[in-house]
């Protein structure tokens, strides 16, 4: 006949074992979902910077890094990068020396990040170096 002590000992062991096992299972599931999430999602930095480069590669001019001042308008920005809502990446662009700023339709509040690039601004036959600030608003 099994003693009461042996039965109690068995219950205690299996209780602790079950707790340890459950903790291990949940930890693995948590770890795996974190890994999966990180694998599936591109980092913000990559997404926004790749999109931002389109403004330097022929959006407002025909050459790399060249902006034609008369094409630097909100309309061109919208044609070049269309957004549906603030759930997309949104951008505002500023030409520092030329004192011109254009803002995307769904760019609200303050930027999350800004990128500074040198650009060549063409205004008719006049050509000069300017600084383009790209303000980035991440999806809200």
């Amino acid at each position: 006949m099994v003693s009461a002590y042996a039965i109690a000992k068995k219950y205690i062991f299996w209780t602790i074992f079950s707790i340890a096992l459950l903790t291990a299972v949940f930890s693995f599931v948590g770890l795996m979902s974190r890994v999966k999430a990180r694998l599936a999602a591109f980092p913000d930095m990559l997404n926004e910077e790749i999109i931002a480069y389109r403004f330097l590669l022929g959006c407002f001019g025909d050459e790399l890094g060249v902006i034609e001042l008369d094409r630097f308008t909100n309309k061109t920005l919208e044609q070049c990068y269309r957004t549906k809502s603030s759930k997309d990446y949104n951008f505002a662009l500023e030409l520092v020396n030329s004192g011109k700023m254009i803002v995307g339709k769904n760019f609200y509040w303050k930027e999350d990040r800004k990128l500074n690039f040198p650009v060549i601004v063409k205004n008719g036959s006049d050509e000069r170096v300017d600084e383009l600030i790209i303000y980035i608003r991440r999806p809200i």
């Binding site: 000992k9 602790i16 291990a24 693995f28 770890l31 795996m32 990180r38 910077e49 170096v129």
Partner: protein, 171 residues
């Protein structure tokens, strides 16, 4: 009872070890991937900056033509310095090299006493087969029938970049 406790401890230790192993195998490559992305973006960024910089016009010449002249001509060097000042903020902590001449050292003009010291190192560099090895961005230009190489080195990259191989022909 003691045996059961030991079994439990061994089990918990095994689970912890397994967790650590999976974490190392699954998460570390992701972190490395993030570093590669960051460095890739740096390369893209500096490639763009260098391209715009070199084709910027100074009078009737491009910055590249001015740099080629500035290698041996003091007046051209001064002119190049003035034209480069607005770009210095983009070249922070970088080394700009044309052929075997260093133009920017850690984002500042490479001249004076400091240049004499580093010229010794450059002189040693001449004996190396690939003086621009390790540059983040390398560009090859053909100007007046001569080949010129521009290299941009960036300090503080998180991982060592692979060799760029054959430089890109831009002009």
């Amino acid at each position: 009872m003691l045996e059961d406790v030991i079994d439990l401890i061994v089990f918990i230790a095994f689970v912890a070890l397994l967790y650590f192993l999976i974490h190392t195998l699954a998460v570390s490559p992701l972190e490395r991937e993030a570093m590669i992305i960051e460095d890739g973006l740096n390369e893209l960024r500096y490639d763009y900056i260098l391209s715009v910089y070199l084709k910027t016009k100074v009078g009737n010449e491009t910055m590249l033509e001015l740099m080629i002249k500035a290698k041996e001509n003091n007046a051209a060097w001064k002119q190049w310095k003035n034209a480069t000042k607005p770009f210095l903020k983009y070249f922070k902590d970088t080394y700009l090299v044309l052929d075997n001449r260093t133009f920017l050292w850690k984002g500042d003009f490479h001249e004076g006493f400091f240049k004499i010291i580093t010229d010794i190192f450059n002189w040693v560099e001449l004996f190396r087969e690939r003086p621009l090895e390790g540059a983040l961005v390398t560009k090859k230009f053909v100007f007046d029938g001569k080949e010129h190489y521009v290299g941009l080195f960036v300090s503080g990259l998180k991982i060592e970049m692979p060799e760029s191989g054959i430089p890109v022909i831009v002009a």
